[in-house]
Amino acid sequence: MSQEMTLDPIQGQLEKEPAPEIVAKAAPKKRSQWLEVWSRLKRDKMAMLGLVIITIVVLAAIFADFIADYETVVIAQNLSDRLQGPSAQYWLGTDEFGRDIFARIIHGTRVSLMVGVLSVAIAIVLGGGLGAVAGYYGGKLDNVIMRVMDIFLAVPSILLAIAIVSALGANLMNLMFAIAISSVPTYARVVRASVLTIRDQEFIEAARAIGASDFRIIFRHIIPNCLSPVIVQGALGVAGAILSTAGLSFIGLGIQPPEPEWGAMLAGGRQYLRHAWHVTTFPGLTIMITILALNLLGDGLRDALDPRLKH
């Protein structure tokens, strides 16, 4: 270590700087904090199980067309093979129109995932934005925003969704919109709560002291620090949205036949429950396993993101 240094603020105790070129190489790369979260998540067996199942579901959605042709297998009726049990030809049996249930479940993942992910994304943007504004500025604005959210929360979310879909008509877009709207208040609350705690931290004051604008403070300092609860809520929210989609479809307000959707399949097989159990059981199991997987992942993420576990 070099002993000659012009500045020696603490009596030679410093790690003295080597020449700058060496420095550039010696300095470790900026390590993403997400990598740390991932390494913690990896240790959680249940969360990993959830992640594996979700990956399979996602792959199924992507490659659905390779697994079964939409026009000829998924929606084409084949009345001669109706209500057949599981077999080598039809792995999970056929429904009341003779369509392969396995193929329909695979194609059904597309709708479920799309509605699940997109509606949560819409809800996070809307709810998160409102919550951040309410939490950061406080006062009257906070009051107005949060009371409107309270009114939304006072209506059962499924009822709200039913009302929106029945008013606007049953199609995919309206379905997503309805589910998103009904979960906006949840995200607004989550984001507002964490903004409130972060807003009073000293590093926000420090940012203000160096002259940072409100915009910069919100986007650079507050939002990155409240992502964790939103991510957890989001993972659980996708599960909720998939369930709502299935529920709305079940009562005929969601995806319309013949398009395959898990909830609609469940509804269709309902009348044959006694002599063709597989028509309802497999879509039902699919919904259950997917929701379970998302919840496991959500719980795992909550633990992995929890800063208290950081030492």
Binding site: I10, Q11, G12, Q13, H311
Partner: protein
């Protein structure tokens, strides 16, 4: 009989080692610690963050969280009995009764939904098996003793200020007339004028009841005002210990000297402080040899190679440093410390 009681150690910790094991990483929190304390004596345990002070206290109380904590070896002999060998049930009757503890933060060590009177009475009921009524009576007496009017026994903790809460905590800890009081940074969270009042109170009560006290702190001034003996901890080891006057006025270990150089002295005006260079070593990867050698201004090659043994420099005053070992060779004759202690005792 009583004569003998007085000269015997009330608490004697021998070669205590405690580790924490997290994710395959071992943190050496306390390493071969030796301290002893007689009835009525006050020992100041001084160290910085991560020196292992609190872990030592938890070790004595049998409260080291397991997992991740584990007592690797050593003895905690309290009044002739090794506490580490006691069954859980028996240890529970020692805790709060014969040994009690005061924690740093009075805000979190009181239950917010119980009145202070109930909290003091609870300890008395558990350990003395007296009636509810007489335990409440005693609780009121205890409050008066720590300078809080008995009329406030029905108040909840949030109705008290920080200093008053710490008084309540002290009342709880003294409720069963313990032989040993362990106080972990009892005044750190308090303002200086309140700290002075609480220290006065503790000093006064200690002499009145002849209670031995282990005072854990980072504040050299607090120790100077309250303690008879002192042990300086660094990286899980006691680096210097002895009579307070010996350690403060005839400082031997470079770390202790460094500590004194780091604090501004009110009676002197110095241009600059003389801090210890560097920082505490990583407890999962302690340096070889003397743990202090990377920060020591007087370190030699030998210091990084082997670990110095505690050396007795004068009656009861020990320090763990090779420089002393060389000088003290004829006196100590390389006897292990425990033996020397016994000779002393």
């Amino acid at each position: 009989m009583t004569e003998q009681m007085n000269t015997q150690d009330l608490l004697s910790i021998e070669d205590l080692s405690i580790v924490y094991e997290v994710d395959g990483e071992t943190t050496y929190a306390v390493n071969n610690l030796n301290i002893s304390l007689k009835r009525g004596e006050t020992l100041g345990l001084i160290g910085e963050t991560g020196a292992g002070k609190t872990t030592t206290a938890l070790g004595i109380m049998g409260l080291v969280p397991n997992p991740p904590g584990r007592i690797v070896n050593g003895k905690v002999i309290f009044d002739g009995e090794d506490l580490l060998q006691l069954p859980k049930e028996k240890m529970r009757s020692v805790r709060g009764n014969r040994i009690s503890m005061i924690f740093q933060d009075p805000m979190t060590s009181l239950n917010p939904v119980m009145t202070v009177g109930e909290q003091i009475a609870e300890v008395i009921q558990i350990h003395e098996g007296v009636s509810k009524q007489s335990s409440f009576q005693k609780a009121k007496e205890m409050l008066e003793m720590v300078g809080i009017p008995a009329a406030r026994s029905g108040d909840y903790p949030h109705q008290f200020s920080g200093g008053m809460k710490q008084r309540v905590v002290i009342a709880i800890s003294l409720a069963c007339n313990p032989d040993l009081l362990i106080a972990d940074e009892p005044t750190t969270a308090l303002d200086v004028t309140i700290q002075a009042q609480v220290l006065d109170l503790m000093k006064d009560l200690k002499t009145r009841y002849n209670t031995a006290m282990l005072l854990i702190t980072h504040d050299l001034g607090v120790v100077a005002q309250v303690c008879d003996k002192v042990a300086i901890m660094y990286a899980g080891e006691v680096v210097e210990s002895g009579d307070i006057r010996d350690v403060y006025e005839n400082t031997k270990h470079p770390y202790t000297k460094g500590l004194f150089g780091s604090i501004p002295d009110l009676d002197l005006t110095v241009g600059r402080l003389k801090p210890i260079k560097g920082m505490m070593p990583d407890p999962t990867d302690p340096p070889s040899g003397c743990k202090f050698h990377p920060r020591c201004p007087d370190a030699t090659a030998m210091c990084s190679l082997s670990e110095p043994e505690p050396v007795l420099t004068e009656s009861g005053h020990t320090a763990r440093c090779f420089m002393l070992q060389a000088m003290a060779e004829p006196l100590a004759a390389q006897k292990p410390l425990t033996e020397l202690n016994r000779v002393q005792g």
